[in-house]
């Protein structure tokens, strides 16, 4: 899932500026699960902004609504009227949700209420950790299902570096060393032989380094055209 965190109330206030009619839009998918931008958080943010702008002496009308998925236009169509009526939309979706609104409503001023952090999972109550960096050429099959791109601080393909100690990364004792994890897992599965091969330099073209990415599925395109 996509994991995000709320911006501070101060930053949200700055982002909505002088607007009077503010619509907070939550999203019912990833950011609901990570307690950053679901319907509950949207209601709280709206109430906090109402309170804060009132205290500042210029109360804004802040309402909130949450769609099932902000990153698909069909869900946004359901709230098109509310979006168009707002002076500013404060999206509590991830960065994709914010852009979906901007793209779908050319006249609407939309600002982000979240910082989209990473793709990961909850490891414990209240803790989320990064797992994938969408490199476009998944190599988990060679590393026992543990990602060195997202989880090694240096994205090494032939780790571990000399900074690995007591299972943690040199960067921070709170970061498990991805290569120690890979080593332990391959060792317990009897596949340490995989670590003896030299992994060649990665083709970063499949990652963001090759420019913005796009997938075209001809099979699905044909189906559309045949309809």
């Amino acid at each position: 899932m996509i994991v995000a965190e709320q911006k501070s109330l101060d930053e949200m206030k700055t982002l909505i500026g002088e607007a009077h009619n503010v619509l907070v839009v939550g999203c019912g998918t990833c950011v609901t699960v990570c307690f950053a931008g679901g319907s509950r958080e949207a209601a709280i943010v709206a109430a906090s902004l109402r309170m804060a702008t009132k205290l500042d002496g210029d109360a804004a009308a802040v309402s909130d609504v949450t769609v099932q998925r902000q990153c698909e236009w069909e869900y946004l169509d359901e709230i098109a009227e509310q979006i168009k009526a707002a002076d500013v939309v404060l999206s509590l979706g991830c960065g994709i949700g914010v852009q979906a609104i901007a793209e779908h409503f050319p006249q609407t001023w939309v600002v982000p209420g979240l910082n989209t952090s990473f793709m990961g999972l909850p490891t414990e109550q209240g803790i989320w950790a990064e797992r994938c960096a969408a490199c476009g050429d998944c190599l988990l099959g060679r590393t026992g299902g543990i990602c060195p791109i997202a989880r090694c601080s240096k994205s090494l393909l032939n780790g571990p570096c000399g900074g690995s100690e007591d299972g943690h990364c040199e960067v921070n004792p709170d970061i498990p060393c991805a290569w120690q994890l890979i080593y332990d897992r391959l060792s317990s599965l009897g596949r340490l032989d995989l670590l003896l091969d030299i992994q060649p330099p990665k083709n970063w073209k499949a990652a963001r380094d090759g420019g913005p990415r796009k997938i075209v599925r001809e099979d699905l395109r044909l189906a559309v055209e045949e309809e």
């Binding site: 601080s153 240096k154 994205s155 090494l156 393909l157 032939n158 780790g159 571990p160 570096c161 000399g162 900074g163 690995s164 100690e165 007591d166 299972g167 040199e170 960067v171 921070n172 060393c177 120690q180 080593y183 332990d184 670590l195 003896l196 030299i198 992994q199 060649p200 330099p201 990665k202 970063w204």
Partner: protein
């Protein structure tokens, strides 16, 4: 990658390669460039190291703190008549920048290269920087070995003219985790094309012997020149810091105790009553003990089969190198004549 040596048997013919191939116990040292554009600092440090080592490593933004570039400082070192080992990390440059810098470095007379992943920028003075890590150190070794032996860029295109020929080095951290994997990682670096290895600082001789035993079992010492990293302790605090906070560094308590004992005459004076002279005398006593320990370490390391030399890291203390090398009985440094121009021209 089968290396193609010159007809005289040398891959590169650098002084370091010649000394190692001749079977001498090699000595390399380290020179940290300044956090400024001051060439004079390099000249002064070069003067301290000249004659007491076979080549000198010039660090590349070590600990992610911006300093004069390794190649820039290396150029000055060459002018001073000392042979540099250029260091190159994967942190700051992608494959384009690394290759272009290496073409320049070779053109400027550099012949040895140490390939490193690099300390993460979080440690340094620009923690908000973006890192690169386009390649890792093993891939870097492979690339520079292929630049020399297959005479191609990383993309596979041939050079349009002479190729850069470096004596290729890599690092080894025998005591970093997972410790059992370290000899295999060394084997990977050799497979990638490393010609020499410089290790992390060694203080724990029994542990290093165990590592070297595995290295010998695997026959690795016959495929690469291993230079053991050593360095003089400066104070008990430094020894404790290294033991507790530097990954992959094991400092036996015995050395911490010796460093403390060296400062014992001042131990009972309350901190605020220590005069400037006292502090200086104590620092000198510590340094002398640090140098003594370092000499002993070298003498013990020399006895270990498969070790081809030592790499002395006296960080911001280049003055210590000469007494260490001298004390270890490694002066004068051997002179192995350079390959003649004719010998050096390869087919």
């Amino acid at each position: 990658m089968a290396a193609q040596p010159y007809s005289n048997g040398y891959l590169v013919g650098s002084n370091l390669e010649r000394v190692l191939r001749a079977g001498h116990f090699a000595v390399t040292a380290e020179l940290g460039p300044p956090q400024s554009a001051d060439a004079e600092v390099i000249r002064k440090k070069a003067a301290l190291l000249k004659g007491c080592c076979d080549a000198v490593n010039i660090t590349d933004n070590q600990t992610a703190i911006v300093r004069m570039s390794s190649i820039g400082a290396g150029t000055i070192v060459v002018q001073e008549g000392l042979e540099p080992v250029i260091q190159m990390t994967c942190r700051d440059r992608n494959r384009l920048a690394i290759q272009s810098d290496l073409l320049g470095a070779y053109a400027l007379g550099m012949r040895n290269l140490l390939c490193l992943s690099g300390d993460h920028q979080n440690f340094g003075n620009h923690p908000t920087a973006k890192n690169v890590f386009d390649m890792d150190s093993i891939q870097l070794v492979q690339m520079v070995a292929a630049m020399r032996d297959a005479r191609v860029f990383q993309c596979g295109e041939p050079f349009k003219g002479p190729e850069p020929r470096f004596f290729v080095g890599a690092a080894a951290a025998p005591f970093a985790d997972p410790v059992e994997f370290r000899p295999y990682r060394l084997a990977k670096k050799i497979k990638a094309g490393a010609n020499f290895i410089q290790t992390q600082l060694i203080y724990d001789i029994p542990a290093f012997k165990t590592f070297m035993e595995k290295v010998r079992q695997m026959g690795l010492h016959e495929q690469v020149y291993i230079l053991a990293g050593v360095g003089p302790l400066k104070s008990p605090a430094m020894a404790r810091y290294m033991k507790d906070s530097v990954p992959g560094l094991w400092v036996p308590d015995e050395f911490i105790a010796r460093m403390e004992a060296a400062g014992a005459p001042w131990a009972d004076i309350p901190k605020d009553q220590l005069s400037k002279e006292d502090k200086k005398a104590r620092a000198d006593a510590w340094k002398q003990e640090g140098i003594r320990i370092c000499i002993e370490l070298i003498q013990q390391i020399r006895e270990i089969e498969g070790v081809a030399g030592v790499h002395i890291m006296a960080i911001e203390w280049e003055e210590a190198v000469r007494p260490i090398v001298e004390g270890a009985g490694l002066l004068p440094r051997p002179s192995v004549s350079a390959p003649t121009a004719q010998e050096a021209s390869h087919d």
